[in-house]
């Protein structure tokens, strides 16, 4: 596994500066600070980002997108996450669904949805997990059965982030029996969250926050035209996007806004050596992880699918985020009040929600199995 380094080019640095300026302006206008993709959705903010051309950036020009590179998207995303921007609303569409449409979508889907993603006019969420299907995602039981002109969908999804405001839930479901091979017969349906038979109810995160939901499908009619990609090809479609889902800066920058706030206080002080050392160690890990994550974006631009590298970085990055929180607690010291404003409140929130970092998007244990399998495969190939 190689993570070749290629620093940002002049053009990419210019884009970075533009995003920095934009975020400074947003901050001056009173935009709050949140923690990574846990931050509360802010549709107005997402539309302003879209207006700058920074949503759906990698959608090719022929599909009405800006046709920019994965690295340019990386630059925008890392700047926003580091600044604690509320990017949740456009996050799923920008990171995943757009790629799905480009790679697997029908012409109608591409024509209808891609320009709307770019415009910040449509929000998606991901309906994969179910009460009995977590890590073993292929065991999903939500079923769609044939009916006149489409499908009747029944079942239940859980932990569906953003279903309370999204327009569509990209739903992984069974469209034909498994017959012993559970990866076969799965499809992805685009389900309108306002359709009859769809019920969304909140599940509160451990800090009381309404981030994800339960979604029930009760004889929901889904027209044929809303099958995403190929019927029966759902497993392949879902797994082929993992490199996009897992490698990003969201996997190591969630607590950067907390550290950045602490830094604002510390940089005016005369710090003892042990504090400088502890900070320096954390800085070093940020630099290394960033370089690895950037190298994955470069690989995507070369047309590679570094899914295993992405799993490896996500595991390393999310473990680090949890360690960084422990370090921050030591540096800040004392009891934390989650209702306190500023640094203390943010840190309290990070402590409480840290367990989610190593779960969402595939648990670290499962990611490690992915990496192990690949190591074994490459050993067999070289033997």
């Amino acid at each position: 596994m190689r993570f070749a380094a290629e620093p940002l080019t002049e053009d990419e640095l210019r884009l970075r500066d533009e995003v920095r300026e934009f975020m400074a302006q947003e901050r001056a206008n009173g935009l709050g600070v949140g923690l990574g993709i846990n931050a509360e959705a802010d549709m107005e903010f997402s539309r302003r980002v879209a207006a700058r051309g920074w949503v759906g950036m990698t959608i090719p020009k022929e599909h009405g997108g800006p046709g920019r590179t994965a690295v340019e998207r990386f630059v925008v995303v890392e700047e926003m996450l580091a600044a604690g921007a509320p990017i949740s609303a456009h996050w799923v569409g920008d990171r995943q669904t757009a790629q799905m449409f480009v790679r697997f979508g029908s012409e109608e889907h591409q024509r209808e949805f891609l320009p709307r993603i770019v415009a910040g006019d449509v929000w998606f969420c991901l309906g994969m997990s179910e009460p009995d299907s977590g890590s073993d995602l292929a065991s999903v039981r939500t079923r769609a059965t044939r009916t006149e002109g489409g499908w009747l969908l029944n079942g239940q999804k859980v932990w569906t982030s953003g279903a309370q405001y999204a327009d569509y839930v990209v739903t992984l479901c069974r469209t034909s029996p498994a017959e012993g091979r559970k990866h076969v017969g799965l499809s992805q349906l685009l389900v309108d969250l306002r359709a009859d038979g769809v019920t969304v109810s909140p599940i509160r995160l451990l800090n009381g926050f309404h981030h994800f939901n339960e979604v029930h499908f009760d004889d929901v009619f889904v027209p044929d035209s809303m099958v995403l990609g190929q019927e029966g090809d759902g497993w392949h479609q879902v797994t082929s996007e993992l490199a996009h889902e897992r490698s990003g800066p969201d996997r190591f920058l969630s607590v950067m806004p907390v550290l950045a706030r602490l830094y604002e206080e510390l940089r005016h002080r005369d710090l003892p050596d042990d504090v400088l050392t502890s900070l320096g160690r954390t800085f070093s890990t940020y630099m290394t992880l960033r370089s690895m994550s950037l190298s994955i974006a470069r690989a995507l631009d070369r047309g590679e699918t570094p899914a295993v590298e992405a799993a490896l970085v996500k595991d390393l990055g999310t473990q680090f985020e949890q360690e960084a929180i422990e370090q921050l607690r030591t540096l800040v010291g004392g009891e934390l009040d989650p209702t306190a404003p500023g640094l203390e409140g943010l840190l309290a929130d990070a402590v409480i929600t840290a367990p989610t970092f190593t779960l969402r998007g595939g648990t670290n244990e499962v990611l490690r199995t992915v990496v192990w399998k690949s190591l074994q495969r490459s050993r067999k190939e070289s033997a």
């Binding site: 620093p7 950067m256 320096g280 800085f283 070093s284 370089s291 190591l375």
Partner: protein
């Protein structure tokens, strides 16, 4: 990787692999005059940093090959010395020259005249001093620090955790002629140590890659409870930890090589800290996978892990370089944390985290 660095790596790899196939691994763990002269003939001991196509990538490639094979010869040191000498305009004779910059010891001047200097002091942990014709050390003079080349006259032998020579050179009122005193321009001690640190990290990345191959192989071969131990998830997780540590260290090295010279000491510091963090994780997991056999002298694993335990402390410990990063990156006029962590930024450049001498 540049074409030249790939060539250097591959050719060195081939030489050492052929040698190990003939003599076993024992032969590459200790000083071998015979292998040294082969490497000398092939030009590996005298890669010239002044050649336009030779740069940091090439020296790192050689260091990585040294680590990959746990090669017990001072190739990395010869390279670092050549760079230091070139930056300070010192002409070196043929023969082994090693740098004495790992610990940061600096000699003092007892007398100074037109013919040169008389210096004294103690240089600790000098790699391979017992085999060297000359050592390069910094001397504190009235006009700043100078690099000097001097003969190691009084050598007390010592070793690192891997048994590689790390000697003490005691310098007592020793005369160094004007021709052996470098110009004031050139590198400073911090840059020199950052280079050493980077090369150690590059070598460690090579050693880690070899360990990663060994653990994957062993997990597939060794059977317990009727199946390969790699069937157990606990072992799979150890193996992944090893691969991950190797990948992170190599990424940090490559990103330093690719960094702008303005921020290279910063990047090298970060690579050395990464090595410090990852070496411990990796060695723990690797030894766990191998069980008792991996804890024996006859097994190859210790040739690699003992080097990692040594290299992580040489040219500055993880602690020291972490402190450097903290001290350089936390300052009142800073534009913000994220900005200082993602150079280029003029405020960071102004903190002296770059290199004055190109390679």
């Amino acid at each position: 990787m540049s074409d030249l660095s790939r060539e250097l790596f591959t050719a060195l790899n081939d030489i050492v692999t052929a040698r190990a196939a003939r003599d076993g691994h024992e032969a590459i763990a200790t000083w071998s005059p015979d292998l040294w002269s082969t490497l000398d003939d092939q030009g590996y001991t005298s890669i010239d940093p002044d050649e336009p196509e030779v740069g940091l990538a090439e020296f790192c490639a050689v260091a990585t090959a040294v680590g990959t094979h746990a090669l017990g010869l001072p190739l990395v040191e010869a390279g670092l010395a050549a760079w230091l000498a070139s930056a300070a305009d010192l002409k070196l004779p043929a023969g082994l020259v090693v740098p004495a910059v790992s610990t940061g010891d600096v000699l003092t001047v007892v007398e100074q005249d037109d013919d040169g200097l008389v210096v004294e002091g103690t240089l600790r942990r000098v790699p391979w001093a017992r085999h060297a014709e000359l050592v390069l050390a910094f001397v504190e003079t009235e006009s700043g620090r100078r690099l000097v080349a001097l003969e190691p006259l009084d050598v007390t032998e010592g070793a690192n955790l891997a048994g590689e020579p790390r000697d003490t050179v005691t310098v007592e009122r020793q005369r160094v002629g004007a021709a052996q005193v470098g110009s004031t321009e050139g590198v400073d001690l911090r840059e020199a140590r950052a280079r050493g640190a980077l090369l150690r990290a590059a070598a460690a990345a090579g050693a880690m890659d070899t360990i990663a191959e060994l653990v994957v192989e062993y997990a597939g071969q060794r059977h317990q409870f009727g199946q390969p131990i790699g069937a157990f998830q606990a072992i799979q997780q150890h193996v992944v930890t090893v691969a991950q540590a190797a990948a992170a260290t190599r990424a940090a090295v490559e990103s330093t090589v690719a960094a702008a010279p303005d921020h290279r000491v910063l990047a090298a510091a970060s690579a050395k800290v990464t090595l410090g963090i990852q070496a411990g994780r990796l060695a723990r997991s690797a030894h766990q996978v191998f069980g008792a056999i991996g804890a024996t002298e006859e097994h190859r694993l210790h040739l690699l892990t003992r080097r990692l335990w040594s290299w992580q402390d040489e040219y500055g410990t993880q602690h020291e370089w972490s402190h450097f990063l903290g001290e350089r990156l936390v300052f009142p006029e800073a534009p913000g944390l994220w900005e200082v962590l993602t150079p280029p930024h003029p405020a960071v450049t102004a903190r002296g985290v770059g290199e004055s001498a190109p390679w």
